[in-house]
Subunit: 196 residues, 2 copies
């Protein structure tokens, strides 16, 4: 194959969930397209790469000084939802379940992967509580050891400021068949059972 | 989501086998990467889009006047392999089964999709037979009605020039379990059975 095409395939193949086979299909489709899809994608990507950066307040990607959530005054309702990644914000926004502000950590504390508090977007949280009059912090972190450790660490950093803390409920997912639920989830679902 | 990110997700989601969910993952990974993957991909893609075009002789994508296969004199062995798409060339090259020259049609004749001989890279084939002293034409077209129709049409265009024609064998694929083979393939495999 032509060396420029090979270089392009290799770069596409490094993207998440794209292997060499899919990358080859994508590159051939782009380069054979006569409507200018390749140029258009290249220029959109270059423009985004040059202008998109994390919001200095919450960590959500934006091309403005402050992101659309932090600058939206209707979202200043005292609720702050702490998530691991930007993709969690995308999922929560799609569900329409949350109407407050977000805080993206950029990872979870992890001894194994060597992620320390300095690697995460944690230090600014106490300032946000004051400046945005946060009354409730909702942890929407992964239901894993790392997620729970990170949650505990953040609670200890914030200390006793009168802010309410909450976390997402654990249990059987909607439509979940008990046959397919792991023991840990089942234990949590039993422990958290609701009186009817 | 930020409007520039949304635009980028939409463009990625139009690529083959990439949906909105995968496109979102790809875009977030690219824009959060700090090693410059996004800029690098954008510039490689733009460069390829500006310089890559079909080889004027065989239709394979190249950034040169004539592609690497047509300019490689060791491949001028009298064999010409006719394929539908560039992706077929990639598959054949990967297998290492063929060492001659390629000819990419860019599609197959199809009444349903309205593909006529003028839409395909057919007219130049008689010239190639003369100028490259082709002695055998190997049809590696899809084993479909469209593929066979295209093959017959090309044979009729070339006419009686002393060139040998051949097509890939039909039959049970390697490792193929008869339970999972369709009736048409089974009929072809029976008809083409080999004496041991």
């Amino acid at each position: 194959m032509n060396i420029k095409i090979e270089k392009l395939v290799k770069q596409f193949a490094k993207l998440p969930r794209v292997g060499t086979r899919a990358a080859t299909r994508i590159v051939l489709a782009l380069l054979q397209d006569k409507s200018g899809k390749a140029e258009s994608l290249a220029s959109t990507l270059m423009d985004a790469a040059n202008t998109i950066h994390p919001c200095s307040n919450c960590g959500v990607l934006t091309d403005q000084d402050v992101c659309e959530y932090c600058s939206d005054m209707t979202r200043k309702n005292g609720q702050l939802c702490i998530v691991r990644d930007l993709s969690d914000v995308v999922v929560l926004e799609k569900s329409g379940v949350f109407h407050g502000r977000y805080h993206v950590l950029g990872g979870n504390l992890s001894g194994v992967s060597g992620v320390t508090p300095d690697d995460l977007n944690i230090a600014i949280i106490p300032n946000r509580i004051k400046s945005e009059q946060i009354s409730e912090i909702i942890f929407a972190l992964p239901n894993t050891v790392e997620g729970k450790t990170t949650q505990q660490y953040i609670i200890s950093v914030i200390g006793n400021t009168g802010v309410d803390f909450s976390e997402l409920a654990s249990g059987v997912p909607l439509g979940g068949d008990l046959d397919y639920i792991d023991d840990g989830t089942l234990t949590l679902a039993f422990g958290g059972r609701k009186k009817l």
